[in-house]
Symmetry: D2
Subunit: 361 residues, 4 copies
């Protein structure tokens, strides 16, 4: 009898429908199907491996996930330390603040009459609405807070930690910013100038000259120093955008100053963009390996899907299978309330790169 | 105090993560988020409404769903009569037959060396492999069966029912074709000539002159007569393609001959294509209303997602919430083993359209 | 000095803007840019190579290209023999017939009120409208013509040639069907049952019992025999769908019966679908090599673009650079008006595959 | 005779192929076809209208357009003042600088062995390669230059003008940065921290403490003040990303302080993302109207296409038809070399918003 090809090893196992399946059972039965379903099941495994290893897990977040109803998923990931550091667009943090302040986004229609919405001062995000007046109130709230800070540049990491603290103290409500504040998880927002948080900061200057200065280059230095301090890293990316590249950049930048850095050990991305047009959001994880952003032997998976479908299923499964892993893992410990942050007791400068990687004793 | 805009009615309710959620709980918590997650939760409701109403439910199936591990989901939908009539590409039926005959598709990689695969005679479908030799054995099996039939044209509906019966009798294994045979659910395959089932039929001519004739136009007549006989219809479409249009065409064609037909009352599609390029696969359900394919007051939802992610979650939820609905609904009853099929005791001609819609007494 | 990497051979040459550039100059300046622009420029070269070689060039056409204003581009490619055989969806041929009969499609809006359109009986294709009444008149015209044919099954190839002839004799207008008739280029329509041409054929049965029979399996045999007769082939695919697979299937089927067949020597596709979801429309040309649809050393290029942008530019350039090539190439010569077609004087049976490849003497 | 529907006004006019067509003739013949081809032809008209009106034209640029061979197209648009202000990702400016310094990107393959590339220190952007060593040399060059500046925060607008000047003085070569310097067109880079230019700035701190500070919030104030000073604006967006939102944000922010601002009068975007997933890059121009980013009566068009195909054709046509328009238009005149920029002789503060809109006398 003819030898079976080496390529035919593991049969596809058709998804078996059954009443009463749990989220993680659904995902487990997707492991041996094909295409993006298989990739989503693989994402569960890759994330579990991250949690079992001693790595700093970065979470990148782009797209309208907060307005779109995923902010408490991200807050959960932060509070229970499935991740260690958040890199976000400004909009996601702003829309989170909007709801934490007790306001809402609303169900809407993608076929709305936008002129009618404009007349009512309703802002549309595809099938979701929000009140422009409430947005203006947020801008003012941010501006007022920023005006109370010292007249010096703040990294987004420092500013957002303080903002989260103020939000928590004012509202005692759950959300991304307040979870990150309470769990002492740093947030970086490299494109803060391209968001309503940036607009709030710009308005702080109007209220009080000398306020509303952000040290965005300090964020680059800090994020690279985080990697220098703790060279084993992992990346979870939702939606691409500036967070995806910023997380990779930290790794690339850190390599200039430390031989121990070798790209992320694990990478998982859930994106809707495709690689064929050359944009960074849709770029493949294989491509990332050419840059050294990702170790060539890393565990990795890319899921081509809208996060509003993929993430609820994935995180429901993950929280069921892996809460003990998340609780028991070697999490980096941060202090974030000062101008200079620390990780595991070591300083993480924003003014210079750490050229010698001194391990904490 | 200012009146709230009429546009701001129902707040987004962020997805709340919890350990141990079931599939239908995950989907229920996606109802008030945004984007495609919300659409998938809506799809669950639209399908439930179909099951509660007295409608004939068509299921369209394109893309490599059978090879990709979803054939038992479709078999389940047929056996438990969540749908009444399947319209499929030939490939999905062929890959189903391939596995029902005891063979497999295999886990593979999208980055494979295709020259090496070609040398081993392994056929790749993105990240999934199959043996060309086993495919040739299927072709022969189909050709041998087709050569046993009468020397006359068969509609795909008649041929596929007989093929399903032969497959069931030979294997006693579950699958799409055998489920449709056992549940007496008709299958139409308008593009059978563009598939390996068509290739098998063409090889029947080689074996026995006069065999392997398909009456594809008869399928048009039959499918329209189905709608004339039972004018209230619903459409569930996976992946677009010829099945999507054929289901709509049945409705449009039936309207020429019966005033009682008015487009589908419910429509649900899970597609990856978008409308912007004008193709039918990605066309919107709104557009379908201009054609009368869909009633202007129909319940409808379009989910932009890979079926390998969306369908396992959706059908796991549906089977949990709605098995009683599926069991208790007014299902059309078919006979399929003859040249002229019947529905609810009435003939469904393939040679002429029923111009008078005589209700069964 | 350090040796330059072997990977850095040919620099990107930025596109240089200049007033008065011709289409082929624009395309030539895109040869050394990146992404899909480069691919489109490469497509020009691949097509030129096809024209210089002794190959049968298949053109596949899916998506609403005729309604969308590209039918005269396709007619031009046929008349001037840039291609030798067309495989099309039914809709493209139907919309071509619609305009050749002196009717129009109309500029519309994707944001139209579809209920209002439905009331006026206007059918929408994204941003394009047509009159349902005119469509019904076409259906009747096709039915009337089909009712004049013999009471026997016709391959789509035979039927469409006769239809094209009738259309030419009636209208003397240019279009795809009339160009193919006049240039004696065969057209296959494997999914004819999923189109208004199929609907017209089904209505022929209503007019005259015994009419409107199509031998779709005969098309499979004929198309494979074409490849057996002339084993060197090339494939140009617009939009995927059934034409893409049917063209490949002819090659795969032919290989069963002839050792001289080895997959297309050239392949060019312009598609909007992507491979990541496993569907055939978006499948890569690399994947096609695993199946033997495409020779492993073939020249090939895939352009990810809407054909309404890519094709006008590409064919404008091609017709400027390559009309002499198209005129001077070794074109296969067909007779199409009979039940059995011929190529270069040899019969192309529809009832059996040619197992011995007898070269024309 | 029945009245023709009001929806059927302007017939589709099929694209007519002809040898020797110029780029603008190709585009003109696409005006009355459908889908994205029609949209690209419309884009030509919308841009022409911008040039004829008294508006400030913002150009946003995301995706790997510079690496991908379009930097000289953008340089041309700047030098000949088809646009007045560039908002770019950092990567596009960095890759422009890379080539202006005499280095190259290289033709590569999307199927490359990324481990082999990593070993050779070659960075891949889909099908395009670059040398990591040359990138490091750029970083140093930027760091060295930044270290020569004053020890104070610079807006990206000020920094990039000075960088462009240094680049021009050093190289005398054409490119985006040097064109903007020479034509005195401001460049904003809101996500500079997410790019290698940001990395270069961070390394300036290592060289000289106190250097490498960017005032990203100042960019928000300046860009809004530009709109307050000159409230009639237009937006041309390539690829979405932070530039798309930043341009819109300037308009929204300006409206807080001036009643004369009412959203862009013209908007044109060429994007590959779609709206269905809620992200800003793919968001529709209709949606932008709900926010007031775009006037409800604006002329607008969205083209779903890869810019590497659409832009060469569009700009080749535009430069042929509209160089006189571009030369003769009322262009805003900037001074950019100081900490406070001016437009048409009026200051554009970075520290406070102009609450009264004083017209230049």
């Amino acid at each position: 009898m003819k030898k079976k090809s080496r390529f035919l090893q593991t049969p596809i196992e058709p998804f078996a429908v059954e009443a009463g399946l749990s989220a993680e059972q659904v995902l487990a039965r997707m492991e041996r199907i094909s295409f993006q379903g298989r990739n989503l099941a693989t994402a569960h495994h890759v994330w579990q491996k991250m949690l079992q290893d001693d790595v700093t897990i970065f979470l990148g977040m782009a797209g309208a996930l907060s307005a779109g109803g995923l902010r408490m998923v991200v807050a959960h990931l932060i509070l229970d330390r499935y991740v260690d550091c958040l890199v976000s667009t400004g909009a996601n943090l702003y829309h989170d603040l909007h709801e934490t302040r007790g306001q809402h986004h609303y169900l809407g229609s993608p076929h709305a009459d936008d002129a009618a919405l404009a007349e009512d001062r309703i802002d549309r995000v595809y099938d979701t609405y929000a009140s422009e007046e409430e947005f203006i109130s947020n801008d003012n709230w941010i501006a007022d807070f920023a005006a109370t800070l010292e007249s010096r540049p703040y990294t987004t990491r420092e500013f957002l930690h303080l903002l989260g603290g103020h939000l928590w103290n004012t509202t005692k409500r759950e959300g991304i910013l307040t979870a990150a504040y309470r769990a002492r998880v740093p947030i970086f927002c490299p494109a803060i100038a391209d968001s309503s948080i940036g607009m709030g900061l710009s308005q702080a200057r109007q209220k009080t000259p000398g306020k509303g200065y952000i040290d965005i280059i300090g964020d680059i230095v800090e994020s690279a120093n985080l990697v220098i301090r703790r060279p084993r890293t992992a990346s979870v990316v939702l939606g691409g955008g500036t967070p995806k590249n910023f997380i990779n950049q930290a790794s690339v930048q850190a390599e200039f100053y430390s031989d121990e850095v070798g790209g992320h050990r694990y990478a998982l991305q859930i994106v809707t963009d495709v690689p064929q047009f050359g944009g960074a959001s849709g770029s493949s994880l294989e491509e990332a390996q050419s840059w050294g952003k990702l170790a060539t032997d890393s565990a990795k998976v890319s899921v081509q899907a809208d996060a509003t479908i993929a993430l609820p299923l994935l995180v429901s499964a993950l929280t069921t299978t892996s809460s003990a892993l998340a609780g028991g893992r070697k999490k980096p410990i941060f202090t974030l309330a000062e101008r200079v942050m620390t990780i595991d007791g070591q300083t993480v400068p924003y003014e210079r790169f750490e050229e010698v990687n001194e391990r904490a004793v």
